[in-house]
Amino acid sequence: MTDSTTMVSWGSWALAALVKIGVVLAVLMTVVGNIVLVERKVAGWIQDRVGPNRAGPWGLLQPLADGIKFIFKESITPERAYRPLYLIAPALSLTTALTTFAVIPFADRFVVLGAEVAPLIADLDVGLLWIFAVASLGVYGVVLAGWASSNKYSVLGGLRSSAQMISYELAMSLSVVGVIMAAGSLRLADIVGAQSATVWNVVSQPIGFLVFLTSAFAETNRLPFDLPEAEPELVAGYHTEYSGMRFLMFYMAEYANVVLSSSLMVLLFFGGWHLPFIEGMLPSAPPGVAGLAQLGIFSLKLSFFLFLFIWVRWTLPRFRYDQLMNLGWKVMLPLALANAAWTAAIILWGWI
């Protein structure tokens, strides 16, 4: 295991880790809470109406109102549900969705007040694989929720959703192979560094980016791939029988996954915290300022991708399930393999 424990004592390492975890969790929960409002507002604007505007100026207190509502709602448990798994499933979904953020870097390492600060919780050498590992464990939350609800619609929704997720996981992992080849490392900070040195991966591997984008929509069960949650077909799919706080956990897990996929797109394909013209100015700036500037750039790019997720959801119609699986296996997978071959070619030719 590579970490910085050899450099600092156990106590301060643990304290730093706890502080970072607290900050990331706080920011993430705030973003997830507010993205619900953003989604409803943007949905309203796309549909030529104003979104929620009652709960405060511009509807800004709507997430608070929603949170309070969810806390007070009764959590009904179906009589024939298998209770241990029924209760674990939303916790599993939310835990895996949040744990993936442990390896996301928000800026480059910088030195402030004589101590080196790494703006990420765990600088794993296999950072990208950690995300895929934890995300693949997240499938269990869905499939268990479907099965443990003891409801035909839920079982169908859970099975459909997990089949969709594992199919697109494959295409996603293969589309990232090109990125790993270009960077020569699995560490996310190294991948961003490699993009700073050459070109953003979206420029050198556009097909890889498109495959990743599509797979991210499928992984997070967002439209146009949200058949597992489609109301006309399956009531509410795998989370039909969940109400109150348990449903809130699934809801938050879904949006946390959206934020995660957007962060990954920014880091892997759009250069993370790097802007071409800013790089020259940063070494001369005071150390904290450079870190903050990179954090700001990352946040701006992240916001664009979050908006993209919402925009696509309210624009495109839903895929039919067989079209969805066709797309995943017969189109995305070959394209991802072709992208890997293309990336190998351009590395050999010396273009990147």
Partner: protein, 170 residues
């Protein structure tokens, strides 16, 4: 006792308990899930041995993909809540005896060599040990033939599955 040792013993307890639950629990879905937990504890063992790539890949492939498909089968076929725990027949006794004999033989074989085996705590590993780069290099140079044979094996299995699952067109 160092942190690594404590983590090892904690992980060993989890591994043994989940393995026992796989065979002893009534509900087949819970059995499959304890197998998932067991595979995750195996992955932690890999991590304790500094094989971080294997740790991640074990979870991605084994616990995250293969076991999901196991779970599909268990859930779709719905064998019901009746397990084999509680029925101690001749087959169960014979299998337990054979497993105990094998375990004792293995321990007896390994135990003399264990004293002082393994790298001492704090041994310096070469940089990049257990990473994807090292593994990839070995797979494509020294172990190329087994790698290719394993790929062909997977291809044969896939073709077989496709053939068995085809629609009959009469």
């Amino acid at each position: 006792m160092s942190a690594r040792e404590m983590l090892f013993y904690a992980d060993a307890i989890v591994a043994v308990m989940t393995a026992a639950m796989v065979i002893l629990h009534r509900n087949p879905v819970v059995c499959a899930l304890s197998l998932v937990l067991h595979l995750c504890s195996m992955a932690v063992f890999f991590l304790l041995l500094d094989a971080s790539f294997l740790f991640a890949v074990q979870i991605i492939l084994y616990a995250g993909a293969i076991m999901v498909l196991f779970l599909f089968v268990v859930m779709l076929l719905d064998p019901g809540g009746e397990g084999v725990a509680g029925r101690i027949g001749k087959v169960q006794l014979g299998a337990t005896l054979a497993a105990a004999v094998l375990l004792l033989a293995g321990v007896a074989r390994l135990l003399p060599g264990l004293a002082g085996a393994g790298a001492p705590e704090g041994a310096v590993l070469p940089p990049g040990f257990g990473q994807a780069g090292d593994l990839g290099r070995e797979l494509f140079t020294d172990y190329l033939l087994p790698f290719e044979i394993a790929s062909i094996l997977l291809l044969v299995a896939m073709i077989g599955a496709l053939y068995m699952g085809r629609k009959e067109t009469s």
